[in-house]
């Protein structure tokens, strides 16, 4: 009798601990999800949007010939470039040091604030592996109709900049 009651009490305590743990994790996750979520946009989507309150993640290809390095206030470096999905391109400005694999004509992902005209990026990513295409960039290319996976692999990097011309 006492054993049975103790067992039941223990089960209740366990259920309680699990519920508390799960509820805490869930509550924290739900309150925090607003802070951390960055929506991915292709250049075509972003260009159509007004200024955004939160962080935006822009994926596409760095337009060839668009990268300009400047020296801003207090000797700070500033880089401007355009990110394209073959149909639309969007201007990005970035005040930090670009990753090694950042190249014109290569895929990139820029994270920053969109003011309706320009993306003020605080993070620019290129991949560790230069033969690897980030899914976001691939998605942007597919969405703009520049790459149909049914007809083989992605277009070679050297052609990316010229995509969409003549249309």
């Amino acid at each position: 009798m006492r054993v049975a009651r103790a067992r039941r009490r223990r089960r209740i305590a366990w259920a309680f601990a699990v519920v508390v743990g799960a509820a805490t994790a869930l509550a924290l996750a739900l309150t925090a999800i607003g802070d951390g979520v960055q929506f991915f946009r292709s250049p075509t989507e972003l260009a159509a949007l007004p200024a955004q309150p939160g962080a935006v993640r822009l994926g596409g290809l760095v337009e060839a010939g668009s990268v300009r390095r400047e020296i801003g206030a207090e000797g700070r470096p500033l880089t401007r470039f355009r990110v394209s999905d073959g149909r639309t391109s969007v201007e990005v400005s970035y005040g930090g040091i670009l990753p090694d694999l950042f190249r014109e004509g290569q895929g990139t992902v820029a994270v920053g604030r969109w003011d309706g005209v320009r993306l003020d990026a605080w993070q620019v990513l290129a991949r560790h592996d230069e033969t690897y295409m980030p899914p976001e960039v691939a998605a942007a290319l597919k969405a703009s109709g520049e790459w149909d996976p049914a007809h083989g692999g992605p277009p070679p990097a050297r052609r990316w900049n010229g995509l969409g011309d003549g249309r």
Binding site: R10, V18, V20
Partner: protein, 742 residues
């Protein structure tokens, strides 16, 4: 010619043979009457075969055998030898071979030391052998590294990503794999206990070293990866909440929780079912994590592209293992008996709090990692969960875990009183308030104040624990280990909070120009070219001098060009110190002036020191006792003059004497069909050995039974002669191979 041509074929044969050996080992350990000796021998065979396969693959990389597709895709003759060899486990196929080899080693170790697990031992071996067989099947059917290249495609090799050419990255994956293998062993040990339907204190004690080993290897692997990211990428920060990093964090969190639960099982017999469930969850998280990473489902800077067939096979493997574990739990878990109940305010209760906290952290990390997948599947919207989410969601949980860590280890088992805790643990409060106040006075933000406060609370908890163990004479090896590991967590917490206060600045400087940043003058001395073994580099020599000091340090930061791979990497320059790291990163050149990212990272060194403390502490706390660690074979109780038969020998207790203080036995060993005998002596902590040719026969004393009989463990192992023969033949084989192929 024939010898050179057959390396990949021999490798394939070794993989298939290892699969057969592993399946047979699973059967030997799993049949109605298990055959431990056969399982042990087969496990050893599988380990030897897979070691051979790994060596053959490494050989193919070392000599740049470009007829092997894996070598062609991942190596280049121009790379330094050590990096070529390390390249043998950098690819998907190679890493699977390495994983299998380590699992086979672990299988062999488990088979040799299954004694303490009792009945569950052979079952655990069988379970691990089944896991190994599953991975080997995956390996030989979909991912063999020994596939030949069609002759027309043979070329000079496609190299390896230069950014991955770093010694830490050569050993980081093997260590992480070792940790994953460790979770597989914990899983097998839990499944073995479920199989026989018995989890008790002895099981807890027997499982602890395996769980501890997994935790240590995972900590080292994650720590090295993080250190590499900090040192090599140079972006500041050591953890980026990248999905791949998260995937390795999950098994670490769950294994850390399991480590504490297993300790509770060993000490008190509580939380038995939970321990089993946690072991299953830890392994499941490890393989699902690997699946997410390897399949390319997740967007990550580390992602590998993998073809869908392999992804599907891996998913099937992960799902199969997890379902098998959970199914066995559903079927047999009800049989497990729980230990005595405990009050919430007790050491047991605090361990539950630790587990709830760590599992909640794991749940948040897992949720954040798969959230983009769920959203994309449901609504087609693509999004990314950034670090801000993890920081906001995990900081309160981390603070909670830290609060429990302060007084937790000093509470009494089963039940304790709050007033007693207050009387013993009151110094926690002034330490925490003092640190928080100091941080506030120096202008830290709210997270900084809270973080330093809780870190001081944890550190003071470790100090109190140490003092009390010292006073009561309970400062054994395990105690020191636990205190050290907890102090390490405190040190890591200090570093994590401090590194949030790092200061960064990007500047453009020409030769001779300087800038003041973080209390130091940064002077560019020169911009110049240099040549390396397989790269060319152009960079800047930067002199860092404290503003109010006279001595400084010259550092070199550059951009390297690797002509073979056609890639560029950045080499960071840094002045490391106990209190801060000063770092400069080369960001390219602009009209004869160099772009530099200057940063000061306070207390960065503490992060790695704290990590090392956790590793050493966890190792000390979980390493098995010397006597039981060497045990395998059979435990028997013998009265003087009585004989036991084990492994084809007759073991007679010639004499035994002593009491609790000190005792010893003399055992006469003779072959079952022989006329001669040898007598060995054994006393606690000192096993008796008879080197008999290829084998060694061991007598390890366990205890004096109340009825005056002596409990000893009898075992047979690989003798020194055999070990010497193995070393000699391996050396001979290497020399021979060198002469033949070199």
């Amino acid at each position: 010619m024939a010898a050179e041509g057959s390396v990949p074929e021999v490798g394939t044969l070794a993989l298939w043979s290892a699969l057969v050996a592993s399946l047979l080992a699973a059967w030997s350990g799993g049949r109605a009457t298990p055959r431990p000796a056969a399982a042990r021998a087969l496990a050893g065979l599988a380990a030897a075969l897979l070691t051979g396969a790994q060596l053959l693959l490494a050989w193919a990389f070392a000599v740049s055998d470009m007829t092997v597709a894996n070598v062609l895709d991942n190596s280049h003759p121009a790379k330094p030898l050590l990096l070529r060899v390390a390249g043998s486990w950098a690819s998907h196929e190679g890493s699977l071979v390495l994983w299998s080899m380590m699992t086979a080693w672990a299988l062999w170790a488990l088979a040799r030391h299954m004694g303490p697990l009792g009945e569950a031992g052979p079952r655990a071996v069988s379970a691990l052998a089944l896991v190994l067989s599953g991975f080997l099947l995956f390996l030989v059917l979909t991912s063999s590294p020994f596939v030949r290249v069609p002759p027309e495609e043979i070329g000079p090799g496609f190299g390896l990503n230069p950014i991955l050419q770093h010694w830490a990255l050569s050993i980081h994956p093997p260590l992480l794999f070792l940790g994953y293998v460790g979770t597989a062993v914990s899983f097998a040990v839990a499944v073995g206990a479920l199989w026989v339907g018995k989890v008790d204190r002895a099981w807890g004690a027997a499982a602890r070293p395996w769980v501890g080993g997994a935790f240590v290897a995972l900590t080292l692997g994650i720590g090295l990866g993080s250190w590499w990211a900090y040192e090599e990428l140079g972006w500041g920060g050591f953890w980026f909440w990248d999905p791949v990093e998260n995937a390795s964090l999950l098994p670490w969190l769950l294994t850390g929780a399991l480590l504490h639960t297993v300790a509770a099982v060993a000490a008190r017999g509580v939380l038995r079912r939970w321990a089993v469930l946690l072991a299953i969850a830890a392994f499941a998280s490890a393989i699902f994590g690997s699946f997410l990473v390897r399949s390319g489902v997740l967007t990550s800077v580390h992602a590998f592209a993998l073809d869908p067939a392999r992804g599907l096979a891996m998913l099937a493997l992960a799902g199969g293992v997890t379902l098998a574990g959970l199914g066995l739990y559903a079927w047999r878990g009800g049989r497990l008996r729980e230990g005595a109940p405990f009050a919430p305010w007790s050491r047991d209760g605090m361990l539950v709090a630790n587990n709830v906290g760590l599992c909640a952290v794991a749940a948040v990390v897992a949720g954040g990692t798969v959230w983009p997948l769920i959203v994309e599947a449901l609504s087609g919207t693509s999004l990314h969960v950034g670090p801000a989410f993890y920081v906001a969601a995990l900081a309160p949980l981390a603070l909670g875990i830290g609060l429990a860590m302060g007084p937790g280890p000093r509470l009494a088992w089963r039940r304790d009183r709050l007033t007693r805790t207050l009387a013993r643990a009151w110094p926690l409060a002034p330490a925490a308030v003092g640190a928080a106040g100091a941080s506030w006075a120096m202008g830290g933000g709210s997270w900084g104040v809270l973080g330093f406060g809780v870190a001081a609370w944890v550190l003071m908890g470790a100090v109190l624990d140490l003092a009390e163990r010292w006073r009561t004479g309970a400062l054994g090896r395990r105690g020191v280990g636990a205190v050290l590991a907890h102090a390490g967590v405190g040190v890591v917490a200090v570093a994590v909070v401090a590194m949030g206060l790092s200061s960064v600045r990007s500047v453009v400087l020409g030769p001779g120009e300087e800038v003041v940043h973080a209390g130091h003058r940064w002077i560019v001395l020169a911009i110049e070219d240099r040549t390396g073994p397989n790269f060319l580099e152009r960079g800047a020599r930067v002199l860092i001098v404290p503003e109010h000091g006279s001595f400084g340090r010259e550092i070199w930061t550059s951009r390297r060009v690797f002509p073979v791979e056609g890639q560029v990497t950045t080499e960071m320059g840094s002045w490391r110190g106990l209190w801060r790291d000063l770092r400069a990163v080369h960001g390219g050149e602009e009209q004869g002036r160099v772009l530099l990212r200057l940063s000061s990272e306070p207390l960065a060194a503490w992060l790695w020191m704290g990590g090392l403390m956790i590793v050493i502490g966890a190792g000390l706390a979980t390493w098995p006792k010397a006597a039981s660690g060497r045990l395998c074979g059979e435990a028997v109780a013998l009265a003087p003059g009585k004989t036991a038969t084990h492994a084809g020998h007759r073991w007679t207790l010639a004499a035994g004497n002593g009491d609790r203080e000190g005792w010893g036995v003399r055992v006469r060993i003779s072959p079952a069909h022989g006329s001669f005998a040898v007598e060995v002596r054994a006393s606690p902590g000192r096993a008796g050995r008879w080197e008999r040719g290829w084998r060694v026969l061991r007598v390890a004393p366990l205890a004096v039974a109340p009825d005056g009989r002596f409990q000893v463990a009898l075992s047979v192992g690989v003798g020194r002669l055999f070990q010497a023969a193995v070393v000699l033949s391996l050396t001979g084989a290497i020399v021979l191979a060198w002469r033949l192929w070199g």
